[in-house]
Symmetry: C2
DNA sequence: CAGTGGTCTAGACCACGAT
DNA sequence: TCGTGGTCTAGACCACTGA
């Protein structure tokens, strides 16, 4: 018989997936090491490594030096969310995007904000509030604090032509961020801005963005009722 | 002068990140090709490739054959969410996990469910309803439909010892899934089960899981008020 | 058509960590 | 201790796609 050939790392990955789904390699099972698989598949070890490493990144395999590679018993599904600029989201839905600046002021933030951003409680920050529209309908409400000592150029920007979201991406580098998703009941102010009933359940995103050890901006985006964030596993 | 050496793909990646953050390579800029960078960094092209490919996966670089590699102008942040078994979530918070089966029946699902799962409207499915508890307090409410023609063994399982969540992971392979996050107001039934006020804003996850072209299970998980799903960018 | 990234190979050395 | 995955190298060929 001729040995089946798996010449690309994708084809190796597919074969491994097939064996996992077919329960030839059941959950928790130790699978052969890279060298053996390379020989069986008729390819180099690097190719097998690429295939297995990629599967491990999705949580389907558990790899440890010396201990070998196992099929994950409790696969922790890794869902990747694309957090893009809101304008992109709206336009991707085939709708016309627009935004409206509601408030812009330089003021002392609530202590919860200054604490989260590791700023002194007396330091003023730039506060912005804006409404994002899709086909003229309220889509999301944005509340944002920007540290002027970190992004001084923001003081000169009016943010009526370009959303703060996009302006910051272009002008303020960031290294990492924390993000949280949750649900809140609409306050009266939110309800009025979004054109919904007070108390309606709203999907929200809270994001805190850092450049090295400096907090850059803190934003809460409150979506209109019914908003869904989708992805695949 | 001695050329700086970047011998690991991580160190190459850090140097590239540094140049991006320092605006040496501003957003939208075309950066040198792999071969040139390899020479400059004193490493092989494969090492540069690994560094740049990994950055491209996070959305920070945009790579195209022949066109070269550019710094993304509008980086679409890729947030990776770990969707694990609820028991793991609770235990990771240092709380005691428990669950309670509320309902278990074989019945005809609503047409919305059979349609989404591409099952005939007259075919009965297994319906489960369970409450997940953390330290004895309601944590999440789970509503699930399972296709018995796809997972016949489920008919024999009582699901009082093990949550359906974990049982399915162990017994029903899946190839992919759709997942959606949103917010709803608590119904009276949900409010009672979760011990909150009716109308409270609840964070929910809807998931539809597939094995090849067969829908396996459809589940809605409704979390108690205040629940947050966190991740990093 | 030609430049760029995408990938494969064979071999090598190394870091980690289970035993 | 020593098996396993993690990585690097130098070279090669290929696929895609912009000019």
């Amino acid at each position: 018989m001729t040995k089946p050939q798996f010449r690309s790392w994708q084809s190796v990955q597919e074969e491994v997936l097939r064996r996992i789904h077919a329960r030839e390699w059941p959950p928790g099972d130790l699978i052969p090491n890279e060298a053996d698989l390379a020989e069986e598949f008729g390819c180099s070890r690097a190719t097998v490594n690429r295939a297995l490493r990629t599967l491990a990144e999705t949580g389907l395999l558990d790899r440890r030096r010396k201990a070998g590679t196992r099929v994950a018993a409790q696969p922790v599904a890794k869902a990747t969310l694309d957090i893009s600029v809101i304008r992109m989201d709206v336009e991707a839905r085939g709708q016309r995007y627009d935004h409206r600046l509601i408030a812009r002021k330089t003021t002392i933030p609530p202590t919860a904000v200054s604490a989260a951003m590791q700023s002194s409680p007396e330091t003023a920050m730039l506060y912005l509030k804006a409404l994002h529209l899709a086909d003229g309908q309220p889509y999301a409400l944005e509340d944002r604090w920007i540290r002027l000592d970190v992004v001084p150029e923001a003081a000169e920007e009016r943010f009526d032509e370009i959303s703060s979201n996009e302006w910051l991406l272009r002008h303020a580098p960031y290294t990492h961020g924390d993000i949280a998703f949750s649900a809140v009941n609409a306050t009266d102010v939110e309800a009025q801005a979004l054109g919904c009933a007070a108390g309606a359940a709203l999907f929200i995103i809270d994001r805190l963005t850092w450049n090295r050890s400096d907090a850059v901006t803190k934003v809460r985006i409150v979506f209109a009722p019914g908003h869904q964030m989708r992805t695949v596993l």
